[in-house]
Symmetry: C2
Subunit: 222 residues, 2 copies
DNA sequence: TGGCAAACGGACAAGGTGTCCACTTAGCTT
DNA sequence: AAGCTAAGTGGACACCTTGTCCGTTTGCCA
């Protein structure tokens, strides 16, 4: 998605999880892809920075390409060169924030990382995602363009992770359950619960933890 | 939503559930609201009929007000008089299909209606909703305009129903769980599972049934 | 320093939205 | 049964967004 995929940063969110500690942006050069020019890099940074602010200060769903371009001080066509639509900008932004969590799921200490029972790991995952949503809700809402959400690299990562947990627990037919287990993390749902119903993040988190443990109760998945 | 609310048909989906058997459209006159004129009624019917076809034969998210108006053979402004946007047309259409299920949940035989254990009722509800999605997916997708989905009368009804089940089961803090339990029924999720992943309705239904029973296991909710 | 490919951004055409307003018509009134 | 009045209609208008084209500028390498 966005143009990361086309240009070499590759399936970034899925595999670029190295550097659990080294959080600095690792060098972005690729062996094959022609390097990005310096001005392009600079513009990209301006765009991302300006867009992050835009998404935060107005309805994320109403941000237009024109607004982003103007805020970033570049022409619209320049913006189109990097991103096909506003939501892909939000996806790129969100991606950076999600990468840390992805690393923790693979290499981190339990219960997020390997080593804890599946139910506990799922509960921990829910809480971590909730924290992510709480902190970056505008971006998550801006990224959510209907069906495109499921084609995101990040969503693919969460799927792989949850599938691992389900299989680990010995669930019978795990595949349909993957997305069912992920569905409570929908950004729009979170917004509704949090700001329409006025539920605290703690209550939602508590329910999700209960939910996770009940779903993957110790004693085998059958 | 739509203009049903403004014009007297009231919170139709939530309370107009009488007639579990009498499926014919009950008389639509209201004591207070000024009656709709005959030509307006006729146009409304044409609009709904034309729109249902449109939603079915192209990407439901791409249907525009102009297209609906043209297909219905009315002017755009006439359409705007009845519906503020395409998704509200889909909501109105879907509403009619949902009303039968709503009746069955309240007055029907178990396990859909009262009388069965909460877990069984939830499982039955999931299967019924899945069936609805399978048959009217285009409308469901057309109706799904982001956060507006949660403000739908129908969604409110499902919330009330699920809350009843949760309370009935003795769940500790039911409110945050309501929407979590409803989240697997998102039309976009269903579409993804069904047509992107290629899962059969049966497999999805099976997982949802397992899911429901595990969530509301017999033996009390705590 | 010169040249070239990459990147930029102003401009254009197409199409959607929501509203206004002059005209038509249904349905009550006498 | 004809007239009146307000509800209903639909063509048209102004505004905004989108996606692309293309002449110009700029980084980078030889």
């Amino acid at each position: 998605m966005s143009d990361d995929e086309q240009r070499g940063r590759g399936a970034a969110s899925v595999h670029r999880v190295g550097g659990l500690l080294g959080d600095l942006q690792s060098a972005d050069d690729q062996p094959v892809a022609p390097r990005r020019r310096a001005d392009a890099e600079r513009n990209r940074a301006q765009i991302l920075s300006a867009a992050e602010q835009l998404f935060a200060e107005q309805d994320p769903r109403s941000v237009t390409m024109g607004e982003i371009a103007k805020a970033a001080g570049v022409g619209r066509a320049t913006l189109y060169r990097s991103f096909p639509d506003p939501s892909s900008v939000a996806v790129a932004l969100l991606d950076e924030h999600e990468r840390r969590l992805q690393g923790q799921l693979i290499y981190g200490p339990p219960p997020l990382g390997p080593g804890a029972p599946a139910g506990e790991r799922l509960a921990a995952f829910y809480l971590a995602m909730l924290d992510l949503l709480e902190r970056h809700l505008p971006l998550a809402l801006g990224a959510e363009t209907g069906p495109a959400r499921f084609r995101t690299g990040a969503y693919g990562f969460w799927r792989v992770h949850v599938r691992t947990l389900l299989v680990d627990h010995g669930v019978e037919d795990p595949d349909p359950l993957i997305d069912i287990a992920l569905s409570p993390l929908s950004p729009e749902l979170f917004q509704f619960q949090r700001h329409q119903l006025g539920l605290s993040a703690e209550r939602i988190g508590g329910s999700l933890a209960v939910f996770a443990r009940r779903l993957l109760e110790s004693g085998g998945g059958r």
